[in-house]
């Protein structure tokens, strides 16, 4: 009896450890630094550091702080490379280098790209920036006025600065670039302004444009060629980026690549999603409106598309497809698969075979009523007809336009096998006609009002099992969980709330282990790193704002519920809980 128990235990250890060994993409090398916003190419935001763990995180103390001097929404992840921390701010997009070898992290240098002041009026939802990337002695990031810059990581001197668009035409950039094989991969923002979405690659050495792949238009513009092999029938055919639109609407059709990029070095493919189509009235754009709300796999050298999967054809609800793609090697129904996990704005967690684009599962992780199901055989989503929008009033649409979740990135722990999804619990009503006036011209738009979903809370943090395709635990938050998460080998999940609490949860149970009240709400991406003293640190920017926090950062009128594209209605009480102000907080054990 005793013997058999021992045997059983040994077998259990063997079984559970098998998936964690070998060259699985989620087991990325970790030197304790944080060189890119999502930590690594697989975008796991997982740190192997264990000094801070479930047993001692309750003793976490503030180590030092740093004020950015700015008051708009701070969404960036600080980078940590070569004992220096790099912080990118919202407009005017300053880059601070902080010296981690000295007490209190004093400023080594500050770089200012001097972006155009008028770009502030172009950004849809606050003037945020989601961070930088380190590569080969340089820091790369983007400015709101559509430039990419390369800065010497040691001296703060500008190496190059390249214009990628024209803010007067409504374009901006808010995303953090990814550096792949010496190429800076960048995508534009501005779907609400009628831009044509693109993703581009620049030579990291010189800033020279190598390729640009549009999301709409003929195949040659989308960089679709002979190697394009979409898994599903509806994504195959010539020039679908034109033919799934009427007339020339694709020219202002949206599909911007304004958020995350992941990279699989073995398949040599980058992955990203495109934003929603325009115009807002779906009656004006009959058709599938490809390639909006689409996941793309492309070769980084040429930009050529290898597969595409349109999640939300003819989107009615502003469900951008731009959320993060976490690359994992998992055993799904007994078969080893290279997958991509994508929690979409439509409230579903897509698990795709990242080599082929086949959908393996697409279950709801957030409350939603706009789609009934996704058929993994056909790849088709079945919409709920009564939630279709247009020139009519539609009530109780869940999730609201910011989606089951927005850009705020999830993390994955190879130790627990779970994805930690910060998300929203919001619904909206969509109605009537709002008179607007731009450049001397009267216009009408949709009047959107958002409000809390079932239960009355507006945010959740869910731990999701991607193999079983279901949530293991969920923690409720009063406000939308608009910060990213980071998870560690110490089994701790860190995230921040819009009312200003920075929290540590047990990664296996969701139990709250520690929390600290920072000065302003958190909508950024926490990171953890090993300092020059070999201690583990956890860092996060506070500074409420963004689309969800515009009521505070932009001083919007709480009585106008349609402000910030309808988000103000759901956030009218936020000013009672937090004030604005950008500040970096760094924590460690005593």
């Amino acid at each position: 009896m005793r013997k058999s128990i021992v045997l059983f235990t040994a077998a259990a250890i063997l079984v559970s450890s098998v998936p964690r060994l070998g060259g699985q993409i989620q087991n990325q090398p970790d030197d304790g630094q944080w060189p890119m916003a999502a930590k690594n190419f697989a975008s796991t935001r997982f740190s192997t550091l264990t000094e801070i763990n479930t047993g001692n995180v309750k003793d976490l103390k503030l180590a030092w702080t740093f004020s950015t001097g700015l008051t708009r929404g701070h969404e960036a992840a600080p980078l940590v490379v070569n004992n220096t921390m790099y912080v990118v701010t919202p407009w005017p997009n300053l880059l601070y280098a902080l010296d981690l070898t000295k007490p209190g992290g004093p400023v080594k240098w500050t770089y200012s790209p001097h972006p155009s002041a008028s770009s502030q009026g172009v950004a849809c939802c606050d003037v945020v920036n989601r961070g930088a990337a380190y590569y080969n002695g340089r820091i790369y990031y983007n400015t709101l006025d559509v430039h990419a810059v390369a800065v010497d990581a040691n001296t703060g001197k500008e190496v190059w600065k390249v214009a990628l668009g024209d803010i007067n035409l409504g374009e901006s950039i808010t995303m953090a670039p990814l550096i792949v094989k010496g190429k800076v991969i960048v995508g534009n923002s501005g779907g609400e302004f009628g831009v044509r979405g693109w993703l581009a690659a620049l030579d990291a050495g010189t800033g020279k444009l190598l390729w640009r792949a549009y999301a709409t238009g003929p195949d040659r513009d989308v960089l679709i060629g002979p190697n394009f092999k979409p898994f599903y029938e509806q994504d195959r055919g010539k020039d679908l980026g034109m033919k799934t639109w009427q007339g020339e609407q694709w020219k202002i059709g949206g599909g911007s690549g304004w958020s995350w990029i992941s990279y699989d070095p073995d398949l040599d493919l980058i992955y990203y999603g495109t934003s929603n189509p325009g115009p807002w009235n779906p009656e004006q754009r009959p058709g599938d409106n490809k390639w909006t709300c689409t996941l793309f796999a492309r070769h980084p050298d040429t930009g050529e598309a290898i597969w595409a999967y349109q999640m939300n054809p003819h989107d009615d609800h502003d469900y951008d497809g731009i959320n993060e793609n976490i690359l994992l090697d998992l055993t799904i129904q007994g078969r080893a698969r290279k997958v991509l996990a994508h929690p979409d704005r439509n409230g579903r967690m897509y698990l795709l075979d990242r080599a082929t684009g086949e959908v393996l599962s697409a279950e709801a992780f957030a409350n939603q009523n706009t789609s009934e199901s996704v058929d993994v055989k056909t790849g088709k989503i079945k919409y709920v007809a009564s939630k279709a929008t247009g020139f009519k009033t539609v009530r109780d649409i869940c999730p609201a336009a910011p989606g089951g979740k927005d850009w705020q990135p999830s993390s994955f722990s190879p130790a627990t096998g779970l994805i930690y999804i910060p998300h929203n619990n919001l619904c909206m009503e969509y109605e009537g006609v709002q008179a607007n006036y731009i450049a001397g011209t009267p216009f009408v738009g949709a009047n959107v009002r958002m409000y809390a979903g079932p239960g009355g809370h507006r945010g959740e943090l869910s731990a999701w099992d991607p193999v079983a395709a279901k949530a293991v635990w969920t923690v409720k938050e009063m406000f939308p969980a608009w910060s990213g998460t980071v998870v560690t080998a110490g089994d701790v999940v860190f995230y921040g709330t819009m009312d200003g609490w920075f929290k540590a949860l047990n990664a296996r149970t969701g139990a709250l282990l520690w929390q600290f009240k920072v000065g302003s709400g958190i909508i950024s991406q926490p990171v953890t790193y090993r300092g020059p003293d070999n201690k583990q640190y956890v860092a996060v920017l506070s500074g409420v704002g963004g689309w969800s926090g515009a009521i505070v950062a932009g001083g919007l009128n709480a009585k106008d519920g349609t402000g910030a594209l309808g988000f103000v209605n759901a956030m009218a009480d936020l000013p009672n809980y937090t004030t604005k102000g950008g500040m970096l907080y760094v924590f460690s054990l005593p």
Partner: protein
């Protein structure tokens, strides 16, 4: 130090800068004819001058492009006290009484003799129709055209120009002249003003019907002050009544197509008191 001395001296030397002269602070777009530009050539520039003269005020401008957050960043942020043009129904600010009502219009080459005025004219099914786009949103008549299944006939022309581009809205009017589109559906003030400057004669006709579902195709236009600034609004309303004839001449000069039954009349029956509710 010397600069400071100089400016103090200048204050004493210029008697017209008397300290008690009031200022009319206006926010306006620096590049948006026929409404305004930085050298004062627009209808709204001229209206601001009439108003400043009537109120015996010094006119000053804050230039800010009329984009999405224009009112929030300018008037509501306190950079000025008045903007000269908003739809009279706008509720984020406090609009004055309207000083004109215009309409979306059909614009075509006169030599085409299209004689088109109805948005449900079946001939539109064989035409390429130019229409302004602001961001990703087409001008209001496009909602009706879309409902009729004519989305593929619409050619969008952006109201936003590239950096340095002069009068971006006039690209659509130029497209009519060149024959790039058969007709354009344009907000009246653009059509009236820019069509006068073209090489070929153009015909301007108000669209019908005047509204579709809840979407109006005619809009009354007012000046506006910040919410709570009722006293200034009353002053402007009274000035508009006093200056009614000059304003009417101004609208004529700029070729603004007006909806006749709704145009303010310059008669004595309209008392200032009635307008200052």
């Amino acid at each position: 130090m010397c600069f400071r001395c100089l400016s103090v001296l200048l204050l004493f030397l210029i008697p017209s800068m008397a300290a008690d002269r009031r200022t009319l602070r206006v926010c306006a777009d620096p590049n948006n004819l026929p409404f305004s530009n930085q050298v004062g050539e627009g209808l709204e520039n001229r209206l601001a001058e009439i108003l400043a003269h009537d109120l015996d005020a010094q006119l000053t401008y804050t230039w800010w492009a009329e984009r999405k957050s224009f009112l929030k960043n300018s008037l509501e942020a306190g950079l000025c006290d008045v903007v000269m043009g908003v739809p009279s129904s706008m509720d984020s600010v406090l609009p004055t009484e309207p000083y004109y009502r215009s309409t979306y219009v059909f614009l075509s080459r006169t030599d085409r003799a299209l004689n088109i005025s109805s948005l449900i004219d079946p001939r539109l099914e064989g035409m390429r129709i130019g229409i302004h786009v602001v961001g990703d949103d087409y001008a209001p008549p496009a909602h009706l055209l879309a409902r009729r299944g004519l989305a593929s006939h619409i050619a969008g022309y952006s109201l936003y120009g590239a950096s340095g581009e002069v009068n971006p809205p006039s690209r659509l009017i130029e497209a009519v002249v060149r024959g790039d589109v058969d007709v354009a559906i344009v907000w009246g003030p653009f059509a009236g003003y820019f069509s006068k400057q073209q090489s070929a004669p153009l015909t301007v006709t108000a669209v019908s019907p005047p509204m579709f579902l809840a979407i109006p195709f005619t809009y009354a236009i007012s000046a506006a002050v910040r919410k709570g600034d009722d006293a200034l609004r009353t002053e402007i309303n009274q000035a508009f009544v006093r200056e009614c004839k000059s304003i009417a001449a101004l609208l004529l000069e700029y070729g603004i197509p007006q909806v006749p039954e709704d145009t303010p009349k310059c008669d004595s029956s309209q008392s200032a008191a009635a307008l200052s509710r």
